[in-house]
């Protein structure tokens, strides 16, 4: 066998549905994923105005189980894991000793001693190894890879809850809650979370149940939406994307994620995070809008220091928007920036987060 052949891409249980819907498929972190079906803007607006459904089964799941689960997670995750009640959810970052961000994660407490942590596809194997390496020193904890068992669907938009409620055996959990429900006869963990700035739920179900659940939700009016719309939706509301806005080269304080870091828990990296918080970061991640024509992209330099880490055209605001690291002295709302967009200087303004608000 030739050693130059690229490794086969992984496919989610919904691959056939994407093909049938005419999706454009791309390699995303080793997965063959739909970037769009009909069009990014149309899918974006469907989520803002009605209901969209995303296949996010490429995301990883790590289950941490046993009487030592809390102790392990408290050591790994930046947030105060002890504050998650059973059926609760919490966002955190995973840091190295030097505070560099390894991943950003949602953790659901499924039961007293049972937690499910959602990892980014590109980081899943590394996260799992990190969890397991540190579990070795903690008694009474088991770390299990669940990526093959679970499919994950995100149903998002002002009508999303109504659509899912209609097939649920009980009222849906509130925002930031995660509970088991029967959806059209299939057992699923329903989570009141999302990555779009809209109301909605994320559903974890057995891989074999995913196609029928997808079909039922689409039949009830959800528009299939791809990773393209997922990116523009999250950027309008300034949610971080690992690999763009978060990396091991910068810490959570720089990224504006100090709110999910509780240094008193003693998590790995807490010393470094505390030091940056106390002395103030040299750079901060800001939201910007371009003042005039043009679209900045990841990697475009900011004149005077810093760089754009995410950029797109905002389908709702009709202008170029993005996130950029800039020197802390230039991070205040209203500060004028100049972005070097492939040699053209584009004026931009630092904006409050989120860039897009529902009632604006």
């Amino acid at each position: 066998m030739s050693s130059t052949a690229p490794p086969a891409l992984r496919r989610t249980p919904l691959y056939d549905r994407h093909l049938a819907a005419g999706a454009r498929l791309v390699d995303f972190a080793g997965w063959e994923m739909p970037v769009q079906y009909e069009g990014v803007i149309q899918e974006h607006m469907a989520v803002r105005e009605a209901c969209g459904i995303f296949d996010v089964s490429h995301m990883g799941e790590i289950e941490t189980v046993g009487p030592g689960a809390l102790q392990l997670l408290q050591r790994l995750l930046s947030n105060d894991v002890a504050r998650i009640a059973p059926g609760g959810a919490q966002y955190s970052v995973l840091c190295r000793e030097d505070g560099g961000v390894l991943d950003d994660l949602f953790t659901y407490r499924l039961d007293v001693d049972r937690y499910l942590t959602i990892s980014n596809a590109s980081n899943h194997e590394q996260d799992l190894a990190w969890f397991r390496a540190h579990a070795a020193g903690v008694p009474g904890v088991d770390v299990r890879d669940r990526i093959d068992e679970w499919a994950m669907l995100a149903v998002q938009g002002p009508l999303a809850r109504e659509v899912v409620q209609a097939i649920s055996d009980a009222p849906l959990p509130a925002r930031m809650r995660a509970e088991t429900r029967s959806l059209a006869g299939a057992e699923a963990i329903v989570c009141g979370t999302g990555y779009t700035g809209e109301d909605g739920v994320e559903l974890l179900c057995a891989a074999q149940d995913a196609p029928a659940l997808w079909d039922e939700i689409v039949r009830r009016g959800a528009t299939p939406a791809g990773l393209g719309a997922r990116d523009t939706l999250r950027l309008e509301v300034c949610f971080h994307l690992y690999g763009n806005d978060l990396s091991v080269d910068r810490g959570p304080i720089e990224a504006g994620l100090g709110w999910c870091c509780k240094e008193d828990t003693g998590f790995i990296g807490s010393g470094a995070v505390r030091a940056v918080r106390e002395r103030g970061p040299e750079e901060r991640l800001v939201a910007f809008a371009i003042d005039g024509p043009g679209i900045a992209r990841q990697g475009n330099p900011v004149i005077g220091g810093g760089e754009v880490t995410s950029g797109t055209l905002s389908p709702c605001l009709h202008t170029g928007i993005g996130l950029a690291y800039v020197p802390a002295a230039r991070a205040a709302t209203g500060t004028r920036l100049e972005l070097d967009v492939r040699g053209k200087m584009r004026p931009a303004v630092v904006k409050d987060k989120p860039l897009y608000r529902k009632d604006a």
Binding site: D231, T232, G294, P315
Partner: protein, 132 residues
């Protein structure tokens, strides 16, 4: 335009551009991007027209078109000077998707070396580059 289309009366550059040589004025060419180019990009959301008088060099990028997700260079199929730009497309870049060979044209150029047209592809040869 939902279906692939490559009009026989146009000349094509393998970097997915077309040129229409004016029937009455053989050194005047209208340029645009092909159905394949706009379909690969998806919804075009930004096109900044080059300046009037700008010089194009065959096989070199002369402008960019952008979708939500990506930026794509537009390569000059012919050398010359920009004598007209399609401001309507700059204001409504979606016209490139809707009508890539008509209302979605990008620029008109006064060719500096009309013999360059002989290096361009006919529709059948261009379509052959898209296979495989």
């Amino acid at each position: 335009m939902a279906q692939a289309s490559y009009p026989a009366e146009l000349l094509y550059h393998p970097e997915h551009d077309w040129a229409r040589i004016d029937a009455d004025d053989p050194t005047l060419a209208t340029l645009g991007i092909t159905w394949y180019a706009q379909d690969s990009l998806g919804e075009v959301v930004f096109f900044e027209a080059p300046a009037l008088g700008a010089t194009l060099t065959k096989d070199e990028p002369y402008t960019e078109v952008e979708s939500v997700k990506a930026v794509s260079d537009v390569v000059a199929p012919l050398s010359g000077e920009v004598v007209e730009v399609n401001q309507a497309v700059a204001e409504n870049p979606g016209m490139i998707n809707e009508d890539p060979y008509g209302e979605g044209w990008l620029v008109k150029v006064r060719m500096s070396d009309p013999a360059e047209r002989d290096a361009l592809l006919d529709a059948a040869s261009y379509i052959a580059t898209l296979a495989g």
